[in-house]
Amino acid sequence: MNLFEYVRPASIAEAVAAAGEPGSAYLGAGTNLLDLMKGGVSRPSRLIDLTHLPDLGRIETSPDGSTRIGALVKNSALAHDPDFAKRFPAVAEALLSGASAQLRNAATVGGNLMQRTRCSYFADTASACNRREPGSGCDAIGGENRSHAVLGWSDHCIAVHPSDFCVPLAALGAIVEIEGADGRRKVPLTDFHRLPGDTPEKETVLEAGEMIVAVSLPAEAAAFAGHQRYLKVRERTSYAFALASAAAALRIENGTILEARIALGGVATKPWRSQAAEAVLTGAAPGREAFEKAAEAAFAEARPSGDNAYKIELGKRVVARVLAMAAAGTPERMPALPASPFASETGAKAHV
């Protein structure tokens, strides 16, 4: 890790001012940033420690019914907040399927949104990587890329956005509140992360010095609470990133889907909301046929970026399944294995 200057601002304004200096980086819990600094991937010369700022650790429901989550709220605190988990169960489930209990206890909401890709070439400073070093090339292309993106990639970068949390946030229309030298602005989460295009190093719409102060979920998102799930396929039962994941939220009345929300994780270069898939479902009867059609629509544009064609088929199945799970209704209690295909009981019970 390089030497750096440590700055502890007392207010958001101070933080934003301090971060305006080139080479500065915000420090949340550091579970991603310190990891990258240890690997020599990030080398900030100044760390602006946000963790002592007041007022950013609250979960509030506004009079208009929207829920505002401060940027410093811990991932675990959010997932275990009974009121929040009741209104946004898929968000809680996604959070609890990510990382480990220890990491979730530390990780902040702002840091989670801002976490960098887990592309192993990005993490390996001996490899070429446009995201880490603009213009150096992309060694993932033609390399070990089974876990890379099938949606939203470019010839400059094929890396997946790793966050689980962001997936249901994208589905539910979350808004990111940003503070900068010029004041505050709000950006929908689906516009917050950028596609790599030919500037993969520009990962979000944040301008230099801007910070996330909160994420909010609009009041209407709570209407999906009864039919809302997150599903995450991974190579071990827990403590692993998604190979493919999806969040689904449905409003069902009288056997008809009035409104659907679908977003994908683990398959795209940013948290990926699929309005095409949502459109297929609007007005449809919940059932296998509609879900498979929606899954097709979600991946209509998908193309392998390497040895990852399997992700297209897998992703479709994840979408179809998570829709079935959502249609079946949000479970009474968080499953023992959140978001897992093994979330319900396992074991040989029946011979067919």
Binding site: M1, N2, L3, K38, G40, R118, S120, Y121, D124, A126, S127, D139, G142, G143, E144, R146, V233, R234, E235, R236, T237, S238, Y239, A240, F241, L243, Y310, E313, L314, R317, V318, A320, R321, L337, S340, P341, F342, S344, E345, T346, G347, A348, K349, A350, H351, V352
Partner: protein, 760 residues
């Protein structure tokens, strides 16, 4: 379990100690309190006065030369004390490209600028703090003259190795395999692949080196403490007795801490140069390079089966990967020598050289990879024979060792099959695949595998000292890597002395003690245990001598009938009312203490006569999401017969551990190299996946009774490695049973399942 062990003692009739007052009891760990309070000191926990921190820089190319290192930048970093490179590295007493001591592996100690694999140490930075050393090592920013990496099995020519594993012959042949295959009614011809796997003990290799003149003290985890003093000494031209190794606790070894590696030597050298203690702990990513791994294999089988389901021939050819500069050939084909009866058997090995770090022994070397493939192939044979996999294995049960024809010292494998199958409910298994689902519609499959591991022994010495107050001290330089040496060896030693364990002090884990031998090959408890027991019985024999010759002792004249040692007293064998305490006997003899010594090792004559193995049977249930391909091992039952079990609690834990390694082998573990650079792209614990708690929902271990009078005086075999054998095959076979698709490449992962299902 309690019985009596006879020990001949010179002219005396047998004096006897009861085995089982301590041994056989499921005692909790003697080092438990230390381990749960943070009091157990691992190597990296040491911090001698004035200590410096070392960090090495590792090559990022797989073949070529280092052309520059920015030593100035590293030196300029605050806190940096020294930078070692090939340009300034002081001389060593031995050539690192020779093999001057037993178990020597060629290693990198900055002898030149050559790079032979990615991850090789190319410079060492020493600094006042860990933070400085770490950053300065990065600032060295090496440049290279790189040659193309040879990392692909298919691009290099195989060769015929001279030896496999640690000095085993590369081939074994019995009968006429071609004839056997020709007369078979069914054939299985199949190729299996296993990837490079890394030990990943939770404790990364670490060393703290402290010099005092020409005496060297090392805090470093080591699986062969006394032997290593000579090996470390050789590098610095000092005798073994000048080297002290303290290794009270190893945070897991699994074979990787038996071998001396370059980073340790460089640390010692730096300490010598700088006249201050130096500590080096490998980073997790550095555990994928200079400290060994399980080499990748390809294994080709040809099996012939007759109409009755008997093997007519078994041919097992392994091609194993080794490095370009050292041979460790995974002896996987050896797994086929000793398990299934067949009139014709051939096991052969070939090897290929790639630009990787040298493989080495890793938990069940040879057997683990070999068993994974063999047990899969046997299942395929059962299928073509139309037999239940257990029935097929029973039909091919070996009554004598298939390779050598020798009788087994003991073999309770039938009992393992029976008890394991019963506990698992195997009889309800449908023969056809894809017949079972759980209530959520997931595929369920059941599979099994046979477990086998040699009951090896090394050489060990121990001493025992009985004190006037009736307590005793026992000593051997054993190594506790988690298997429980602090407890199991202590139990055995107390039995040897006829004392309660509470009255016996046990010293271990230090090179100043008698040589406890090697903690490896699942032979440590047997070897060091027999040595400790013999040391105890030596003391008892001397004590008996004193008492039976003492006119005033109630035991006077008992020489002909013998005495029995129990609870700190000697009893006349024929009259338990006549006894005397150890303390009294010593006091009457005017002695402050009595010393005894013992040795452990295999009796060569019995080794010549018999084949000696632990056996077991593992039954696995897997549950698979049919659409998503995610797999979970939902049940594992293992039944093992491994001679006398010294501590059932600890033995069970060891077997669980081995079986969990089986889960990792079957489903998770694989080093992924970038084919262009040769670098391992998942050299960490997030992407090189090992099982986590949620991967292990339900396990059961059955310890099957087995009395083995031949394996050694105490009848102890090992349980450290056998658990992984059998398990991998059982899981692969269960996956076949769940899906109807046979996967022949490990680990079996989601992509395989999806593609397999598509191909079906």
């Amino acid at each position: 379990m309690s019985d009596t062990i006879e020990t001949p003692s010179g002219a005396m009739p047998a004096s006897r100690t009861r085995f089982g007052s301590n041994s056989g009891q499921p005692m909790t760990r003697r080092d438990g309190v230390l381990k749960v309070t943070g009091g157990a000191t691992f190597a990296a926990d040491n911090h001698p006065e004035g200590m410096l921190h070392a960090v090495y820089a590792a090559a990022t190319i797989s073949r070529g030369r280092v052309t520059s290192l920015n030593v100035d930048a590293a030196r300029a970093h605050p806190g940096v004390v020294e930078v070692l490179t090939p340009a300034n590295r002081p001389p060593l007493a031995i050539d690192p490209d020779t093999k001057p001591y037993p178990f020597a592996f060629r290693t990198e100690v900055l002898q030149d600028d050559t790079v032979r694999y990615a991850g090789q140490p190319i410079a060492l930075v020493v600094a006042e703090t860990l933070e400085s050393a770490t950053e300065a090592a990065r600032l060295l920013s090496p440049t290279y003259d790189a040659s193309p990496a040879r990392i692909d099995f298919d691009t290099v020519e195989p060769f015929d190795p001279q030896a496999v594993g640690v000095g085993s012959p590369p081939t074994a042949e019995k009968g006429d395999v071609e004839a056997g295959l020709a007369q078979a009614s069914h054939r299985v011809d199949a190729r299996y692949e296993t990837p490079g796997q890394y030990h990943n003990a939770m404790e990364p290799h670490a060393i703290v080196a402290t010099w005092d003149g020409d005496r060297l003290t090392l805090d470093t985890p080591n699986q062969a403490i006394v032997m290593s003093t000579g090996s470390f000494g050789a590098w610095f031209g000092i005798p073994a007795e000048n080297v002290t190794i303290r290794s009270p606790f190893l945070g897991g070894g699994f074979g990787s801490k038996a071998i001396i590696v370059g980073p340790q030597i460089l640390t010692i050298l730096a300490a010598k140069m700088l006249g201050r203690p130096v500590k080096l702990a490998l980073r997790r990513d550095q555990m994928y390079g200079p400290v060994g791994h399980r080499g990748a294999t390809r294994q080709e089988f040809r099996l012939g089966v007759d109409a009755d389901g008997h093997l007519t021939a078994l041919d097992h050819l392994t091609t194993a990967v080794t490095s370009t500069f050292e041979d460790f050939i995974e002896p996987a084909s050896n797994a086929s020598h000793d398990l299934y009866a067949t009139p014709a058997l051939s096991s052969r090995h070939k090897a290929v050289r790639l630009d990787i770090g040298t493989p080495g022994p890793m938990r069940a070397p040879g057997e683990a990879s070999g068993s994974a493939a063999l047990e899969s192939a046997i299942d395929e044979a059962a299928l073509v024979a139309g037999l239940d996999p257990l029935e097929f294995r029973l039909r091919n049960y070996a009554e004598t060792d298939p390779a050598s024809g020798k009788p087994f010292s003991a073999k309770a494998l039938r009992e393992c099959y029976a008890e394991g199958a019963e506990r698992f409910g195997w009889s309800k298994r449908p023969l056809e695949p894809r017949q079972m689902r759980d209530e959520a519609g997931r595929l369920v499959g059941w599979g099994m595998g046979t477990a086998l591991f040699p009951a090896s022994m090394f050489q060990a010495n121990a001493t025992a000292t009985l004190r006037a107050d009736g307590t005793a001290l026992v000593e051997t330089a054993g190594a506790d890597m988690g298997q429980g040496a602090w407890t199991a060896l202590h139990q055995i030693a107390a039995d040897g002395l006829g004392l309660d364990i509470g009255s016996v002090e046990f010293r271990s884990g230090h090179s100043g003690l008698p040589d406890g031998g090697i903690a490896g090959g699942s032979g440590h408890t047997a070897t060091a245990g027999n040595a400790l027991h013999a040391a105890g019985t030596d003391v008892i024999a001397k004590l008996a001598d004193l008492a039976t010759n003492d006119e005033n002792s109630p035991l006077f004249g008992a020489g002909n009938v013998g005495v029995e040692a129990r609870d700190g007293r000697l009893y006349r064998a024929d009259d338990p009312d006549r006894s005397q305490s150890y303390g009294e006997i010593l006091a009457r003899a005017g002695l402050a203490e009595i010393e005894g010594a013992g040795q452990g090792g295999r009796d060569p004559a019995s080794a010549e006569e018999r084949a000696m193995f632990s056996h077991g049977a593992v039954f696995a249930e897997v549950t698979i999401d049919p659409d998503l391909g995610q797999i979970r091992v939902t049940r594992l039952v293992g039944a093992f017969a491994a001679g006398r079990i010294v501590n059932p609690r600890l033995a069970t834990s060891q077997l669980y551990g081995g079986m969990i390694w089986g889960i990792g082998f079957a489903l998770h573990e694989e080093a992924v190299h970038d084919k262009r650079s040769g670098r391992i792209m998942n050299a960490n614990l997030a992407e090189y996946r090992v099982p986590v708690n949620a991967d292990v929902p339900a396990m059961d271990v059955i310890l099957v009774d087995e009395h083995d009078p031949h394996v050694n005086p105490l009848g102890i075999k090992g349980v450290g490695e056998i658990g992984i054998t059998g398990t991998v095959g059982a899981i692969a076979n269960a996956i076949w049973h769940a899906t109807g698709v046979r996967f022949r490449r490990f680990p079996i992962n989601i992509v395989d399942l999806l593609e397999g299902a598509a191909a079906r």
